[in-house]
């Protein structure tokens, strides 16, 4: 089958690899009909996530049709022929954490738990196509994929609803929504959201769905800010503004946003001395992340407010304003999304036409174009917001 493989930093290649097979009783094999490149895949592309190995199959946003299930899966849970969207986190459904709906903290799905434990104390759940530290599972940017614990994760889909409306239930829609849930939005709240990429776009819309009165979106790309505006957000282009924290102060009458969301993560861009210092330190591998947005969120948040961090961080971060965080009595909420709690309710919102997630798609291409698209997406060329790959389209004809 065809699969998008990580061959090294900034090296992506579409390889012919063997088809996956059932390895455990609760596995399923899914024939992928749509799969996407996620902003967090760009951290892999840029080589900032440790424990990637040459030849690893990428991709954690995918959906398709079940073609085979292991003998441990009951027929009423999942069977061949079911159309499913698969969450990017892998959860067993039985452990202490899964029982408490902390699905992305599943204790049993990461076979390489000890690598993560060295870095984080305890290991989060396994993820598809996201480094060996996170389980080393082959990803879904491929024609077929093996899905472990398939009686827990995959969400069965009704017929008739097109892929492009439901594919983002695999990650970014629930992730944006989870970021907004973590903001603890009260009616009338003002939410500031850094990053108007796909997750930020869903976070903006989710914040409104959850009762926010004002959403202030921050980015530097006009086309992404336009998209935010279309959802009803006010916008700040930080490149045209001296000081984002000051601007937010003015916009909120010196109260500050009730909650601030970092939908950017470890490879933030910014201005000024600290940004250049972070960039240098990251290049020299003495700091794993560039937490520019996280710092701004803490500085900008109103007293007693919430900082929500759906953006991905990898390791250790310098110069976090703990003084502001402590003295302003802030709360921080974060985590990989507890997918299984949000997929079904969000599917219902899509079916009720409260939201059509396909607005975020900018590129639909055959899987063979993946290597170029990683670069285009990373460099924000061609007004790129979201790339959907078709694993079965004829690459030569369509590229």
């Amino acid at each position: 089958m065809k699969a998008v493989c990580w061959m090294g930093r900034e090296k992506i290649s579409v390889e012919n690899v063997p088809d996956p097979a059932i390895l455990n009783a609760r596995d399923a094999i899914v024939k992928v009909t749509s799969t996407c490149i996620c902003g967090s895949d760009l951290h892999l592309y840029d080589g900032y996530i440790p424990t990637m190995q040459q030849g690893d199959i990428l991709g954690h946003e995918f959906m398709g049709e079940v073609v085979e299930v292991g003998r441990g899966i009951e027929n009423n849970k999942l069977k061949a022929g079911d159309r499913v969207v698969v969450p990017f986190t892998i959860a067993c459904g039985k452990c202490f954490f899964c029982e408490r709906q902390l699905w992305s903290c599943c204790d049993n799905s990461n076979p390489n738990y000890w690598i993560a434990e060295q870095l984080m104390g305890y290991s989060p759940s396994g993820l598809f196509g996201y480094s060996h530290m996170m389980g080393g599972y082959a990803g879904g940017q491929a024609q077929y994929v093996r899905v472990p614990f398939a009686d827990v994760g995959p969400l069965k889909l009704p017929d008739g609803i097109p892929d492009e409306k439901v594919i983002f239930l695999s990650d970014i829609f629930p992730t944006g929504y989870f970021g907004a849930v973590n903001c603890n939005i009260q009616p009338g709240d003002t939410v500031a959201i850094w990053g108007c990429g796909p997750v930020g776009q869903f976070a903006i819309r989710s914040a409104f769905l959850l009762g926010a009165e004002r959403v202030i979106a921050i980015d530097r790309f006009p086309y992404r800010l336009r998209m935010a505006k279309q959802a009803g957000a006010e916008t700040i282009n930080y490149e045209e503004c001296d000081d984002v924290v000051e601007a937010l102060k003015v916009m909120t009458g010196n109260i500050g946003p009730d909650s601030c969301m970092d939908a950017v993560g470890m490879e933030a861009h910014g201005k000024g001395f600290l940004y250049l210092l972070d960039k240098a330190k990251q290049a020299m591998r003495v700091e794993s992340d560039r937490p520019i947005v996280l710092r701004e969120c803490i500085q900008a948040c109103r007293k007693g407010g919430v900082v929500s961090v759906p953006g991905v961080y990898g390791g250790f971060d310098d110069t976090i304003p703990m003084g502001a965080f402590m003295n302003k009595a802030l709360t921080m909420k974060t985590g990989q999304t507890h997918m299984m709690s949000y997929m079904q309710p969000l599917l219902e919102r899509i079916q009720k036409e409260e939201i059509d997630p396909s607005f975020v798609i900018s590129h639909r291409v055959p899987i063979d174009s993946a290597p170029q698209m990683y670069k285009i997406f990373r460099d924000k060329e061609d007004q790129c917001t979201k790339v959907v790959l078709d694993p079965w389209a004829d690459g030569l004809a369509a590229a």
Partner: protein, 255 residues
């Protein structure tokens, strides 16, 4: 690792000798690996692979003699009875203890254990249950005259706040023959606590979910020989029986 078994007399001498063996292997093997890599050829790669293996194997020569003790604990989200019953059926042990090929119940509390040894060999010993209390504990030890002396125990306690069962396990290995020294690191991996920890995590996953998580056998794109080899000799990976041998074989075939 536990104390040296050879007594006070000559203790220091032996330890020094092993340390020399260990470090010369690591340095020599490492040098060979570096030299091999600079050749930039297939035979150079094989040389590098061999050097890497020598360095790696040397790093695993236990410094402290032929004895090792390991312990670890885990909370499993099942009742003590279920955990106890699964463990007590000794035939189940190889399903989560990777160094074991099989355990056969011989009746009367006795059992035959077959472990994967170095170079595709098998190491066999007979053991007996020393003590057991239903749903609370089991202890076992090898019968006198075994090549490997093993003592192990496992205890099951109700975990706080109804979180299942806390399991504490302890194993003590002693090799009685010189050549069997090599077996201990094969069984125990990088360091003994880690091997027991991995066994217990697999036990937990198996009881809670019915399977142990794995990616062995899934597809991947081209890996260079070096990446492939580094996967095999990663001291943190659970040791698959015979993986050195296959890696060497593979390197030989490609060279």
């Amino acid at each position: 690792m536990g104390a040296n078994v050879e007594g006070e007399h000559g203790n220091e001498h032996h330890r020094q000798f092993r340390a020399i063996q260990r470090w010369s292997g690591m340095v020599g093997g490492g040098a060979l690996a570096v030299y091999g890599l600079t050749r930039r050829s297939r035979s150079g790669l094989a040389l590098a692979a061999a050097g890497g293996l020598v360095a790696y194997a040397s790093s695993k020569i236990p410094c402290e003699g032929m004895e090792a003790e390991a312990r670890n604990s885990v909370v499993v989200n099942v009742p003590a009875e279920q955990a106890f019953q699964f463990w007590r059926r000794l035939e189940n042990l190889p399903s989560f203890m990777r160094h074991l090929q099989s355990v056969t119940d011989l009746g009367n509390g006795r059992s035959r254990w077959i472990a994967f040894g170095p170079g595709g060999t098998e190491v066999t010993w007979d053991a007996e249950i020393v003590q057991e209390r239903d749903n609370e504990m089991i202890s076992w030890r090898s019968l006198p005259g075994s090549e490997v002396e093993v003592e192990g125990s496992v205890e099951f306690h109700q975990a706080a706040a109804n979180r299942g069962t806390q399991i504490d396990s302890k194993v003590h290995y002693k090799a009685t023959k010189q050549w069997l020294k090599a077996l201990l690191p094969t069984i125990l991996g990088r360091y003994p606590h880690f091997a027991v920890e991995q066994d217990l995590r697999r036990f937990k996953a198996l009881l809670e979910t019915g399977e142990t998580p794995t990616t062995e056998g899934q597809p991947h794109g081209r890996r260079s020989q070096l990446v492939g080899l580094s996967r095999v000799i990663d001291p943190n990976q659970p040791r698959k029986p015979g993986s050195y041998e296959r890696a060497l074989e593979g390197a030989r075939r490609r060279a």
